[in-house]
Symmetry: C2
Amino acid sequence: MEKEKTIQRISFIGSGNVASHLAEALVRQGKQIEEVYSPSPEHAKTFAERWKCRVVNRLSDLQPQVDLCLISIPDDSIKSVADTIPEIKGIVAHTSGITSMDVLKKHKRHGVFYPLQTFTKDRRLALEKSPFCIESNNQSDKVLLMDLAGLITEKVFEINSEQRRYLHLTAVMVSNFSNHLYHLAHEVLESKGLDFELLLPLIFETANKVHDIHPHAAQTGPAKRKDQKTMSKHLEMLTDFPEYKKLYQLLSDQILDAHS
Amino acid sequence: MEKEKTIQRISFIGSGNVASHLAEALVRQGKQIEEVYSPSPEHAKTFAERWKCRVVNRLSDLQPQVDLCLISIPDDSIKSVADTIPEIKGIVAHTSGITSMDVLKKHKRHGVFYPLQTFTKDRRLALEKSPFCIESNNQSDKVLLMDLAGLITEKVFEINSEQRRYLHLTAVMVSNFSNHLYHLAHEVLESKGLDFELLLPLIFETANKVHDIHPHAAQTGPAKRKDQKTMSKHLEMLTDFPEYKKLYQLLSDQILDAHS
């Protein structure tokens, strides 16, 4: 029986948080990073030293003999970069949540390799439980990309562009927006000489309980209880933070609505 | 040397989520729940059967020979209940975040026993890492309450009423408001036939990373990157959810401000 084809040689366009985390995970699985191009040559150099690959200074110089070229750059630039790079032997895929696969259609074999996770600089991350959302314009490349993702994580999903952008939208809600709430709590506590660390067990339990309970059933607190007196007190306490007061009001109104 | 006095016999006013979780933790430490009073006699009965204690039908019938009477009822009712119950031998304490200790001042020995956590019905909870915020009008009872809390958790803090209400306010932000974001993500995904479970690893990592990184440094996403194009796309996707669109706009504006 012929040996199954797998993705082995990979080039990266982009050298930011997502690219770095993916490169690390792929190298750990024995994959070879061949080349990197980055709009920021300094970043490309650091990336290349770390993953022992060549730096390419012009997109047109990318070598075509790779199995996969991963485009991991700001969403706005993906289409123009994809249109600029030479035809390659393998698959051209981007790692974006919001960008349609179609922006890569200049390339005969194309797809999406989207890790649904928040990537923070210099923070080690266990990707093995993070969902990877895979898409391709053809069945065999979809299998190749899913197999590759399957080396990194136990959670590989076939997700089309329309579904993916809704995952991306809701990811912003549960991650960036929740993190902003952590940030403003930090600020309010700091103004009172209190340590944000006091809230960590609560933050942890809140994130944990929706693993077992529907978020609607998991809700607690003054708005859920329709406790207007406590909400009024809280609003008054936010007098020095008018923006946060507005946010408190809007979120409380929505929770009241959801439980009316 | 004389044996140190400790709190052993406890009565509860209230039989809701907080009361039930505390009773469970206290019984596990060998404490005796003597009596329970609840505005809802049905709830009181269930509580009494579970923790093998008597039900009291009128506040005036509460027996005075307990070491601690814990008032765990809606904030609005704490003062009137405290004013109604007879004088007791031990400490009268409430478990509220937002309520000042002073509402208990009719009682010679009084204090606060506030667990900073989100309590959900029928959900088992490990309290041993949850902060307990303790306050009392006298030093010796503060020690007694701190010792009692120390049996349940490794995190016992002396927190005054003014600090406590700010902890309560920020607890609402990081817990109830984050949970509301989970809820709306659930709703949006459901409307597209997608499974909320896909977001759980992201929710988990978002909550986890602020254990190590300041929330400001932990921020990621389109607003942090000033990626107006992605934000516009997201807003357009929320056309069917006008309230969530308003929330998306407000939160994104605040993140933009925080990173400008």
